[in-house]
Symmetry: C2
């Protein structure tokens, strides 16, 4: 094990967009000596063998996590509990367990009961992704320049944290420490609500009569298209996100609905000043994003 | 006047993103002999003189439309009535008058009363734009490969229509004929509702407490950012759009709200199958858009 590597053996559970991208990034950046990748689906494993080396793909959870120094759960948040239960007794002493789920309170609640004292469970969440899913969609640069949120919800020794951060930084990510509640709130407004709204409006269009629907597709370049991209994200992953961040999502949704109703009323009563005021205010946020370099 | 040109003299009223882009495109593609551009704002005229030739920029509507074969109103839809009234007596016999407004029923209602029988009023709408506005934002390729909808709401001779279509095609646009009601309905779902929703969610985020708002900006790459781009579009233009396509926007908004309420209830009651069904269905629309080549 070289001095530069945080871990000797890394096990990736789940070969979707995130798991495949992380595996490719680990190999490209030489972040460990041995990488072991597992997926429960035989078709996914077949594709993984084309993206990685066939001998890096495992058929059983037991073999995958055996002797691993770091185990990364790259699975939908709805599956965390079951997988944590399955692997908890198989992890070696001192093993670091992390996940990449989009909700953090629920993952902690689901995984924590199965983690013994000699394992360091450090939840995390890479704020990276595309609308594409599956092993074909993975690429090693996915995390480059993106935030990777770490959620150490209990006291973890500095050297354990530093080593884990160093590993994540090795993929090009910028690490950021956050409390689980705050993570779930920030993600509810920046990611979960936008996805829910995009899914809704594309669904609304889907229910239009055939000719209209066809023309909506043809003339989609006028705003709608951006929503369809977001609304083509992985259905299972997103179903689980909404079910597992219910509180924060429903709260943000309530605020959004109030604000939308206010605008709806302004349109109905032709109150142009109210519309103009809001439309002017929202430009500022865009300027802040450009200023923070988060616009690409 | 060359055989290839549809019009000798073209007058552009309004030097924003659309008016400037059209002027630059006309010059680049050599679509007329004389171009005359007007804007009521002295600062805009100053900037236009840098983007075009100073002698092409006019200070009065009267001088601008004098002797024009084609007059294009590139102004917010809320200003159409006033400008139509001002120029109606100044247009020469046989002049073509068009507009580039995002709503068509309202523009016809506002402009029609002022148009004398020797003028051909042919409303139109280029489905092209960016979130940037003003003369600095204009560029000659804006219309390239984009649809330009023509809305001839009464009988117009073929040669007049053909000549007008040829002119628009000269800018690289793909012309498409539509009825005003249908245009307003399609645009309500593909453009107006997406903009309203984007403005709303960015507004909702703007009202969060300061630290949260700052982090929303930092972690915006997860979906929210796409909405901020849309929500930084020109406030006056969009205020006018909503006030002038009230019927179609409110109808689509009603459908959208029903669909969102359905999903909200599914989240509250943890009905994962309902979420998954919709999220799977919405992927199809994205695939259709990619198939139609409208994804870039």
């Amino acid at each position: 094990m070289s001095d530069k590597k945080s871990y000797k053996t890394v096990a990736i559970i789940g070969g979707g967009l995130i798991g495949t991208s992380l595996s490719l990034s680990i190999k490209k950046n030489n972040l460990c000596d041995v990488i072991k990748v597992y997926d429960s689906n035989i078709q996914v494993r077949k594709k993984l063998k084309e993206r990685l080396s066939p001998n890096e793909i495992y058929e059983s959870l037991e073999e995958t996590v055996f002797d691993a120094d770091l185990v990364v759960l790259c699975i939908p948040v709805g599956s965390m509990k079951e997988v944590a239960k399955s692997i908890s007794k198989l992890l070696k002493d001192g093993c670091i367990l992390t996940d990449t789920g989009s909700t953090k309170n629920s993952v902690i609640k689901d995984v924590k009961p199965y983690i013994s004292q000699n394992i360091w469970f450090i939840p995390s969440h890479p704020l990276a992704g595309t609308e594409n899913s599956g092993p074909e969609a993975g690429f090693p640069e996915l995390f480059k320049g993106k935030y990777w949120v770490i959620v150490p919800y209990y006291s973890i020794p500095n050297e354990v944290m530093d080593n884990f951060s160093k590993f994540l930084s090795g993929s090009g990510a910028i690490t950021e420490i956050m409390k689980p509640e705050y993570h779930d709130k920030i993600l509810a407004i920046t990611s979960h609500l936008p996805h829910l709204i995009a899914y809704t409006i594309v669904g609304t269009a889907t229910d239009l009569e055939d000719q209209t629907k066809y023309d909506v597709v043809r003339f989609s370049a006028t705003g709608f298209r951006d929503f369809t991209r977001i609304a083509s994200s992985d259905p299972i992953m997103w179903r689980d996100v909404f079910l597992n961040n219910k509180g924060a999502v429903l709260e943000m949704l309530q605020r959004f609905t109030e604000d939308l109703t206010y605008l709806q009323r302004a349109i109905r009563w032709a109150e142009g000043d109210k519309l103009e005021d809001l439309f002017t205010k929202t430009r500022e946020i865009r300027r802040s994003i450009i200023k923070e370099g988060q616009d690409k």
